[in-house]
Each structure stands twice: as structure tokens, then as C-alpha cells.
Amino acid sequence: MSALLEIVGLTKSFGGLAVVEDVSFRLQEGARLALIGPNGAGKTTIFNLLCGVYPVSAGSVMFGGVDITAMPSRRRIGVGLARSFQNIRLMPHLSVTENVMLGQQARASGLRALLSPLRGSRWKTEADERLAAFGLAPYRDRLVSDLPYGIRKKIEIVRAMMAAPRVLLLDEPAAGLNPRETAELQEFLASIAAEGVALLVIEHDMGLVRGLCPHCVVLNFGRKIYDGPTADVQRDEAVLEAYLGPRDSVHAETAHVA
């Protein structure tokens, strides 16, 4: 079975500094994969490469068997690649429903879709139904800048879902949430995954990662150091070293000098 999303030898350098180096992994249709690693490991950079925010330095991104490495960023959501952001990036001057309707943009092509009023349209109905299904109906006419953090995080994910994506890239969905909100989020994400949407999740909360993603990829200093079952990741030598430092500190010093 060919993978839905496959990245091969992905490399990104900013002026000689390699932030992501030769990273390859695959995500199957409907699968749930976590992308973890210490701060600065290059996780968000990989998301930005997948979305086309930055051009890649080397390597390729295949999506559904098509090479999208050079595809303009605004087209990618149309083929089924939607994302959320590490710092919530909803439109502050738009209402919740309007933000969610923005997520439909990739499906609303043509002059007629652009020039017919949104009020009372099937787009608005669909957005409101989606918000209601995720328990967000009370907020739909509010401006997002007035809403609590946890609600805004959810809205951002709903917005991404409106593009009817095949894979959802989630950048630290649980950051800043309390344990109760995190548990809620896990349920929410599981319900999305149950619809057949593949999830690629950057996350530091290992409880959420274990509960949601059977597989994970670990990055350190831009390189992949682990790719396998989440259950075994905490027993992996290279991963332990990346997070905790090497067991033998003398080794560590010589390693740094070398």
C-alpha cells in the first residue's frame, strides 16, 4: 500500500545552517503519526515545508502519489493538506463562523461561489453544523479575539477540517491546555481521525501522543533519530540521549569536542 504522505530526504538550510537534514518518513491513509523532539529539532519547519511556506533545499514531498514539492502553498489545502498553527492564527476581526467558512475557501472555486452572499448559503449552514457538532455553537457569532484559548484552539482545528482534508497537520494542539482540556482535545482529535482523516501531530504532551498516535517519528537537531511504535520510544537509546543527555558524561564531552 502506498503512503498518503511521503517525504523523502527532506532538507532545509537557512544560510548554511541545516535546520532539517535528510528526513524521510511516510504517513498512511487514515493513520495517526506523532512528530516529537526537543525544542528546535525542526518539527515546525517540517510542517512549513509540507505546507509550502518555505521552499525545500533538497528532497521531495509526495502526497497521494503526486509530487507536491514545488506546488504553490495556497494550492496545497485544495489537494487535502490542512494544518493548525503553534500560536493560534485565527483571523481576529472575523467571527467564529466566518473563520470556519474561510476553511472552505479551497472548495469554493469559481465566480459564483465568490460572489454569492454567504448569509443563508449552504456554506454557512455547513459551517454552523460543524461548529454545533463539536459543541461550539454558542460561540459562532462571537469575534475570535474575545474567546478563551482552549476554544480558539478547537476552532482552528474545525477551520482546517472544513477544507475536507485527507491529512491534518497539528502543531502542538495541547500546548497551553490544562489536563481536562487536553483530555477533551484527545477525544475531539480521535473523533476527527475516526472520519478517516490522517493526523500528523507535533506534540510535547506524551500522554496525548501515546493516547492518540500508535507511531511516532523523533527528530533531534534536524535529523530523524527514531521511527517506530510510540510504545517503545522511551526505551530507545538515541531518544533518551536526545532528551536527557548521554549516560556517560565523559563521553558526552569528548563527543562535543569532536
Binding site: L114, R142, L143
Partner: protein, 306 residues
Amino acid sequence: MSGYLNGLLSLLCIDVMFAYGVFLPVMAGQLNLGGAGFQALGGYVAAYLAANYGTPIWMTLPLGSLAGALAGVLISLPLARVRGVYLVLATIAFGQVVTGLILASPTLGGAQGIPVPSFVGLPVILPFTIIVILACFYLCATRLGLAMRAVHDDEAVADLMGVSARAIQVISYAVGGAIVGLSGALYAHQFGFVEAQDFDETLSVYVLLYVLLGGVQTAWGPLVGTACFVLIPEALRNLLPKLSALIAQTLHLPIGDAKIDDSWRLVLLGAFTVAMMIWRPQGIVTRTLIERLAHPFGAARQRRAA
């Protein structure tokens, strides 16, 4: 209706249209300080055709509008490459280039201007104004309007949502240019004369101020802003000397050289602008205000529930 009131309302209508034409790019995050350039183009196209070829009004108005739209498309292409203060500077430069070219061109009458033979009054201007206002309200309610506001808020995210920020900018300048061009053509016929000095950068600044102080979050802003900033200073023209005389009388102050005449209304306008920037930078009309006016009880209930 008195001639004064008629003329005032005609100018108000023209300014309202002008404001909506400037508002559309602003709604998409593009500050436009070259509005007067677009208006000069529309005005001069109408004036030149009417004066030299006797072109009828039903043709000069659309052609003036078309000139504005074309200029909008042409200027939006290089403008898409610049941001922030450089964008503003580029639009100022555009306005300067237009008036500069007019002044340098003997065919366009240079500094002497062009007299316009055919007259258009309020009965024609008002319907056009209403159509422009309704069209802008309609546009704001469509997906195109949503995309424009999204580009205004966060261009990078709008792009990732599938919005072509470039196309949005071109469209907003083209439609905005068409509206400002139309207002220019109407102005030429209403005033009966066009000269380059009428379309200087002060005009661009004023109209952008109307838009920003009116508020850019809803389509009400340009209408309210223009109405306030055209009508209040006009009212002050008579009120201010009377008011100052009254104050002087009650305080037993001598009315000498320091008498406050109507030129002080510009000072008041400036002070008001500064005050607005400090206490209400989002403008007079905001979305929250509209919602509160639309549902005076519903909104309060919703806030309590949350």
C-alpha cells in the same frame, strides 16, 4: 432645496463614493494614499471627452470609471511587492505622478484645467451613490469580501487557506479604482471644471482619514466617516464664529484679533483626529457596535451566558 444644500449633498455623495473606493483596498489590508490620483484620472477622462468630442454623459461616466479600474489593475501589480510604509509611499507617488503628468500635458490644459460643458446634478449623483453603497455592502457579505478581510488580518494564513492574496489585491484595487474613477467623472460634470490642483495629496489624506476614522471593520465605516467629516466641519463654518462670540460675550472678553473664525474648524478636526487615534483607533463604527445596535438585548444576554 437651496442651491447651497444641493451642492453640499452632491459633494458629500461624491466623497462617499470616493471613500468606498479607497475602503475596498483598505479592507484587504492595502492602505491607499493615492486616491486623488484615481479621481483625477476619472475626472480628466470625463472632462477631456466631454470638452473635446462632446461625448455624452452616459459614456463619459463609464469611461471615467473604466480609467480608474485600469489604473487600479496596473498599480496593484507592482504594489503587491511592497509592504507597510513602502506601500503607502508608493501610492502617494502614484497620486503625484498623475497630477504631475496632467500639469505637464498641454493637451490636458496643464495648470489651467479643462472646463466641462455638460452638467450632472444631484438627481444623477445620488442614485449612483446609493448603487455604490449597496454594492459595497453586498461585496462585504460575499465570500470575496470574506477573503478580502482574511488577507487584511493575516495574509500568510489566508494563503494557506487557499486565498490568492495577489488576486484579492488586484481585484480590490480594480473595483476601488472603478468607484473612485466614477466619483471623479461625476465631480467633473458636477463642478463643471477640472484642474490638477483639485486632486492633490491633501484630498487623498482626507478621504483615507474619513475611511479610517469611520472604521474599516464594516461597510458602514466609509459612509459614517465621510458624513461626519464633511458635514460637521461644514456646520462649524457658521457655528464656530457664533459660538466664540457667545463665549466671549458671557465671559466679558474683548473680541479682538484673536476672534475664532471658521478656519479654526480644521484645527478642531486635527485635534479630533488625534483624539480618535488615542481612544478609538478602530474607528467610529466597529463590528461590535453594529451587533449591539442590531441586537440591543441579545448581545448582552450572550455575554452574560459566556
